[in-house]
């Protein structure tokens, strides 16, 4: 049995988008429950994993999910231009919006420059 690290545990948890049960994680990592619990506790302390109570066949376990990074607001920018849809007070006709068209041009220019 190879030594399992927090990174190994995190990779397994992250690969399960809907989460993985702690009882299953232990089997996947091939470690005993004490070791598994220690790895999970460290990941929770580091904010990399979130844990919630879960009952499987009446037995209490935990559902583990990788913490998601907050959405990246810089994706609302084309260059330095904030997308016009944010806090927009115009009547929205998204197919014909000239402000959005200008933003899309800026986006395309940014892509060419990259």
């Amino acid at each position: 049995m190879t030594v399992k690290t927090e990174d190994d545990a995190f990779e397994v948890i992250r690969s399960h988008r809907r989460g993985v049960l702690q009882s299953e994680l232990r089997k996947m990592l091939d470690v005993d429950s004490r070791k598994c619990s220690r790895l999970v506790t460290k990941l929770i302390e580091d904010g990399r994993v979130e844990r919630s109570d879960y009952r499987k066949d009446g037995v209490k376990t935990f559902l583990l999910r990788a913490s998601r990074a907050p959405a990246d607001p810089s994706l609302l920018l084309a260059g330095t231009e904030l997308i016009p849809c944010v806090v927009c007070e115009h009547e929205c006709v998204v197919e014909e919006c000239p402000l959005l068209m200008d933003w899309m041009y800026q986006l395309a220019i940014e892509e060419i420059q990259e």
Binding site: A71, P73, C85, C92, M101, M104, E110
Partner: protein, 173 residues
Amino acid sequence: MVALTPIQEQPAIAAYLHRLIGDEGLLLIERFPDEGEFSDEDLAERTEINLNSVRHTLYTLYERRLAEYRRIKNNETGWLTYLWHLRLDNVPAALAEEMEAVLEKLRTRERFEEENDFYRCGQCGLLLTFNQAMDSDFCCPDCGAPMAHFDNDMLLLALRRRREAIAESLGHE
């Protein structure tokens, strides 16, 4: 523009707040005391910003949960006082909500760009779909100049990439 506090240092957040509350709103945030809660009149006096502007900014921020108030009642006069404090820690959540709405709009626009051929007036730049251009015999309805095919591939590609990046950032499958 006023000097920036740490949360506003990210360009997207600064641009968002500026569009939301303008220069005077940013000034209010900048001058808002670090701790405690304050009435609008107190804030106007401390920050030297017009009272109406302070109120407008506070309500605009409140609508997006970026400011909160506590209401207290004077038992003698029955007057209500609203004591405000900022919740700029909610900016990422507010922006994530905006991004969800933006994602929907970009999907719609992407579909439109995919499903249509476009024609552009060489004179005034008016852009029409194939059907619209055909209705005017491929002459610009505004200035009469001939219209030529407009290749939107670059725009569509940039739009699609950004839409996908936003969806991924929001954790959509």
